[in-house]
Symmetry: D2
Subunit: 336 residues, 4 copies
Amino acid sequence: MTLNIGVIGTGAIGREHIRRCSQVLQNARVVALNDINRANCEQVVNELGLKAEIYDNAHDLINSPEVQAILVTSWGPTHEEFVLAAIKAGKAVFCEKPLAVTAQGCMNIVEAEIAAGKKLVQVGFMRPYDSGYRALKTLIDSGEIGEPLMLHCAHRNPEVGDSYTTDMAITDTLIHELDVLRWLLQDDYKSAQVIYPRKTRKASSHLKDPQIVLLETVKGVRIDVEIFVNCEYGYDIQCQVVGESGVANLPEPMSIQTRSAAKLSTGILTDWKKRFIDAYDVELQDFINNVLSGNMTGPSAWDGYAAAVAADACVVAQNNGEIVPITMPARPAFYH
Amino acid sequence: MTLNIGVIGTGAIGREHIRRCSQVLQNARVVALNDINRANCEQVVNELGLKAEIYDNAHDLINSPEVQAILVTSWGPTHEEFVLAAIKAGKAVFCEKPLAVTAQGCMNIVEAEIAAGKKLVQVGFMRPYDSGYRALKTLIDSGEIGEPLMLHCAHRNPEVGDSYTTDMAITDTLIHELDVLRWLLQDDYKSAQVIYPRKTRKASSHLKDPQIVLLETVKGVRIDVEIFVNCEYGYDIQCQVVGESGVANLPEPMSIQTRSAAKLSTGILTDWKKRFIDAYDVELQDFINNVLSGNMTGPSAWDGYAAAVAADACVVAQNNGEIVPITMPARPAFYH
Amino acid sequence: MTLNIGVIGTGAIGREHIRRCSQVLQNARVVALNDINRANCEQVVNELGLKAEIYDNAHDLINSPEVQAILVTSWGPTHEEFVLAAIKAGKAVFCEKPLAVTAQGCMNIVEAEIAAGKKLVQVGFMRPYDSGYRALKTLIDSGEIGEPLMLHCAHRNPEVGDSYTTDMAITDTLIHELDVLRWLLQDDYKSAQVIYPRKTRKASSHLKDPQIVLLETVKGVRIDVEIFVNCEYGYDIQCQVVGESGVANLPEPMSIQTRSAAKLSTGILTDWKKRFIDAYDVELQDFINNVLSGNMTGPSAWDGYAAAVAADACVVAQNNGEIVPITMPARPAFYH
Amino acid sequence: MTLNIGVIGTGAIGREHIRRCSQVLQNARVVALNDINRANCEQVVNELGLKAEIYDNAHDLINSPEVQAILVTSWGPTHEEFVLAAIKAGKAVFCEKPLAVTAQGCMNIVEAEIAAGKKLVQVGFMRPYDSGYRALKTLIDSGEIGEPLMLHCAHRNPEVGDSYTTDMAITDTLIHELDVLRWLLQDDYKSAQVIYPRKTRKASSHLKDPQIVLLETVKGVRIDVEIFVNCEYGYDIQCQVVGESGVANLPEPMSIQTRSAAKLSTGILTDWKKRFIDAYDVELQDFINNVLSGNMTGPSAWDGYAAAVAADACVVAQNNGEIVPITMPARPAFYH
């Protein structure tokens, strides 16, 4: 049983997913490609030796009888349109983040999916597929550290380019925490606040870096996330859960321990692409398996919507310095 | 050269300090004792085999020509009176925290000391004498991690009695961070905010536990301190400094690493008295040495005042949920 | 391009490899099965939903035109016969350890393969495919710790059954170190010595446990391997390389760090099957890829022979308590 | 109660001990000095502001009525003579290692002390006073890891001068392990073997470095000690105890953990003097306290003898490459 996949958008992440489907994962085959630049598709076909048809129009790809499932890895602002089209065609669709560039766009997808009566959408949030976060969730769920009360998190990048703006700390960086922490805690956000520490001299003049985001959940859990995208020393993702009777930390990535030059050291990654590389494989294999079995279990359109609502509130909090309430509608029964 | 010390207050901490001066430290001798209960003094004299005179009145002890320096370890509300008397007598005085129970009381001492024209007062803040905090300060000052931008701290106790109230999280617990972080950063506080996470079921009904205190310094450093006094698992003091180019953590106390029962473990202390036990020795020896050399360098009356001002603001912030400004007068030249 | 595989032996490890080829790996398909008990084959076919032919005779499977490559996962004493038959048929063969039950049997395979003029054999040593050992080899080869001088290793199991005998510490347990350390150091063994520490009371009366094996390599590196198969606390593989200017340790498996019950802990595995589970996947995918590309690069028949020669010397050393020389013939150019 | 101490030998370690007695420890006073070079004594008296008499003859110092206890910190070959003289004078004596330069010399001291009928001698083995080794012993004695079966140890120095010879790896370096491991295990040695790994290019041409010493105890515990005195990276003392149900490691010295330049690091000491600096204080205070209380409990003349016997066997093993038996006479009741 092999799933025939069509891919819309053959930029960097699109190519990575095509390579995955072709060379790493089981039971999938990329049979159709579309890109605003047809030459990109041709290059991918040649590089990977694909037997895939190139479509000049994404909607033709979506509606092609050869295509059983869609990967949307095109430019963010086009996601909503293509996901809605896939739903209309009754086909499963994996959409890289963001699901849509506005919360309302995400809600449009939620409503279309409910109307279709069948779960078809998986959003490309890969952290719930990371073995470290999974182990952390298993430990929390085991009750070994009691009920979670606080989370202390950090999301640190060695550096960012000049085009990275203050709000991207939320929409490009924190967005991963906004997704994975909801999943980890099985909880929703209630308020957000942003505070600005002393700025690092390594950041662009227009960028506020670092930032600290304070989140409150419906159950009362308090979360602080340090976002520091010019930290210099490495790509470092920290998550500490403080429970009623103990504390648990997200594992550090595996590393050789050395004793050298008066230091006992392990390595820290510097390239974000290596940090969750295994999680991308697991995520996409899960999508393939779920489509083939007819039971979608990954991050849903509702999860995409929830992250978008929280991100919007955080951006408001960045600007007004206040504690901004986050209001979510009740989760539709469809997503239970 | 031996310093003749008089001790006011022979409760638990008084006895510990008497034992230190008699059995551990160099160049000191306890020659005079006072307590509101004379029998306590007699017991200490017998237990430790002291040759010390017992005074029924603390002021007589302070003014005795036999006594060269004073330790004030009596009930907190009496501290201000005895410290002022020691200053008036022109004698060096080591006063356990709090220096006074109000910021105004601390300021009275500051003004008396300035008027006396000579540094005489050391406040009993022992963390700057802890080898871990000292190593952390040395590392910060070396520039190895760049300018500090953020501090993530935790102060966790396994449990507290029913008499521990919500404001004591500030006045008894956070007070140590309020002192040591000023010293670590050589900076002053500018604002305070307190947030209340989901409450642990292990705390008394009247106690908000845990709490998170957010501090901002004049230089813009942002500090978060988790205070969790019923954390169950141990007595655990954490301090992480995030600088422009690296991160440094307060060392964990030395511990055997074991591999046993499917766990690779080191021990965590459960008794706070063991955590800073060496620091108490260093602190008091430093007082003795400084009195003998005539150059007081330990935590000063000004440091006691600064901690009191910050603590007052934190208590206000506990109650109003707002960001409370902290205003300190300019540091008098006397304390530079 | 899909490799059609025939599997001889459908016991525990055979089934695991069949599952891998069918459900995890790329470009492979199990098309033929053989077992001394035909019912075992039928069960596997049913459980995994295979479209595979069942052969009553292993040689018929080997010679079937449907079968392009062979996995030998049958009873150890049969390995030599089936591997030789595969070579005779000109087909690639992956053989679980041991390649043969004697060093002479391994040499027979080496000679047959050389005579065939083409590398066809991969031995099932999976540790060189473990990401930890690979990282360790990369670090050694980088020169970061200088030339290796000593290795301190441990191979610990929580417990073994009563059927485990003293010599199995070499032939079943140490055999993995004998393989992986040759690969890690790109060196051969020169002598072996075995010493017996105080025996644990947890071991069977007939079993000497723990044991320490001392190995010397041709380049003069000294290796000590502690083998302790009733260590109780976990399945724990340690490898420390001491070089001229630094020391490197095999990484610990990823684990959540917790603070709980006065302990700061990470978990230790107790089940050996989980320790190298990823390495098995990589190992077999490598075999598949190599067969398809016509370039065999995994552990060779010569590696199987070298491990067997070293193991024989260790068993002699177990019995005579002496330093036993290990003599290897020169490596044939065929295996360079 | 203050102990009047006379010090014979005012070289580096002598001065350190004089400083300790004068400025750090309680209840001691250095009242007499002797050195083969009187000017050395004068310099120490001036530097430390001592009120001490300088003796031109060590025996006059030993016999002076002003002197209650003796520290022998002179050149090794003179130790035996001065310790015997102190015993004859009925005075307690702390003697830096070696107690005597031959095992027979140690035995002469043992016999003299027994004849004197009173414990008077403490040998300067400081590791049993190190808080890490003490914690390790406490853990072993608690039974938490079961009966010890094996010890894996390392004694690494960054570098040694050209005057350091191969036998000094035993007599100057391993000697500390020979003492502390007997104490840790409460056991005696039964045999020794020395093996020479590939030599580091950083060592002098005449020096075999590293070396591995294999020891067997009477109870059957097997110990391996790596001695590597040109390891470059730091001064590093490792001791791992493998018991029947768990493993325990000597703690690493306290150190700040940093995240910097893609490394998560703690520091390793490079100067041996810092590693056991606290242990020297505890050791000498213990001597002072024991003399004052009349109950000598530190490393005894018998311990000095036992270390010398074991060291002699190790030197033989260095030269003949064989397993050399170590035979100790029964411990006299006097030393139980």
